[in-house]
Symmetry: C2
Subunit: 234 residues, 2 copies
DNA sequence: CAGTGGTCTAGACCACACA
DNA sequence: GTGTGGTCTAGACCACTGC
């Protein structure tokens, strides 16, 4: 682990351990530099990382302050880790409805930046939270990147398999959201009624080298889904 | 303007001007260092800024590549600039329904981190896109930060007034979203029907010094609203 | 193993907050 | 004005990619 990542996670632990609240001040830069026996730039890099994660904010001429999310049980839209971390207090499970190798449709090929004669894995799941439906998920994985999937992997966490099992690194993602009304079929999977509200979220995930490997379309149960974003200003 | 910001915007212009596509390679670091006659760290800082904005991605050992959003007319959830920039091709307008000074409710006081005896400005607007309703907006501004608002300011862009008129700097934001069904009243403002889908988005905006100044609750018309997020990996 | 991006350092100097 | 965070530099060294 890199030095600045190590420092960042130690500061994160420090905040957690001392149960610091929004607006509380962290030690000044000079102190941190001595504490961690490192250079100014490295500390700043560590702090930038924490700022990006929404854990602190820095005010020039004043100090470094803690920032805290105030609501529980919301799903972080900026996390690459799915819901796992945000909903860790709940019992999450998946029911695999389909798992097969296919040729992509035109839309899928376009989203994954591949040709239509390349293979993709198609996975259809319903995800549950505490025995209630959370969302319906249809995913397409580029088989050139993810050469093998089975029911066991797909029932557990696919991303965990990709990172730990295949040794690949997830980089960035494009996400598109819209609101609409459930179709008959979607409603039956989610145990809701035709015409009730839905949130559709399409995501394209890329490896750090820029290869798109996953195009997923999630349809959320409006009763179970709440989201948050910690914006850092652009 | 700082050197690294200047460089970032020049590179951004360069990408735009050459109409570079997703995956196209930018000049290598060494070239950029000479081109802009600066140090390596400064170039890297500029590139980090562009990466945060979702315009490029960097691959160690390989190069710097362009990243492009592929869908038009979606609203960027990570921008502090509201819809203005994403929907610039459309005619946007606001109808002001209410504008008054109030005492906050408990919920509002909590979200703005103020006491219940402090004044807030309450603004209720319907926002239109091409004569269709886009969203219903209820905002509360901390009067200690924004001491004066009038109908003219509120009909135009409030954030523009806060930044340009008052010389304040918007820092970061907390956003919370959920899906539900429109109430009778919301439906009538949005010219939709009771029970139809809605997206509710609550945002708390902070100045760079960490002072919360705006708590807003937006109810979106499900027909008009599409959102995107360019995730950069956390 | 050459090419390329990333980390880390030490230090000078700058800009903003707050009293 | 003092304290505090931010920018910028020059350069050594490290780590990954891909031929």
């Amino acid at each position: 682990m890199l030095k600045y990542q190590q420092i960042a996670s130690e500061i994160e632990l420090y905040i957690e351990k001392h149960q610091m609240q929004q607006g509380e001040k962290l030690p000044v830069l000079e102190t941190l530099i001595k504490e961690f026996n490192t250079s100014k730039s490295t500390i700043i890099k560590a702090l930038d990382l924490l700022e990006k994660k929404g854990l602190i904010f820095q005010v020039r001429g004043s100090g470094i302050f803690v920032r805290r999310k105030k609501r529980k049980n919301y799903i972080n839209l900026l996390s690459n880790q799915g819901f796992q971390k945000d909903l860790e207090k709940f019992h999450l499970s998946s029911e695999v409805l389909e798992l097969e190798i296919r040729k992509p449709t035109e839309a899928v090929a376009q989203n994954l930046h591949i040709d239509m004669d390349q293979d993709v894995y198609y996975v259809k799941r319903v995800r549950y939270i505490e025995e209630e439906t959370l969302c319906l998920e249809e995913s397409y994985y580029n088989k050139a990147v993810v050469p093998y999937l089975n029911k066991e992997i797909v029932t557990d966490s696919i991303f965990k398999y990709i990172e730990d099992g295949l040794g690949l690194k997830v980089g960035f993602s494009d996400m598109y959201m819209q609101i609409g009304k459930l179709t008959d079929q979607e409603a039956s999977y989610l145990k809701l009624k035709n015409g009730e509200p839905k949130l559709t979220m399409e995501s394209i995930f890329y490896l750090t080298n820029g290869t798109a490997f996953d195009y997923s379309k999630l349809t959320y149960n409006y009763n179970q889904s709440q989201f948050y974003i910690l914006g850092t200003g652009i």
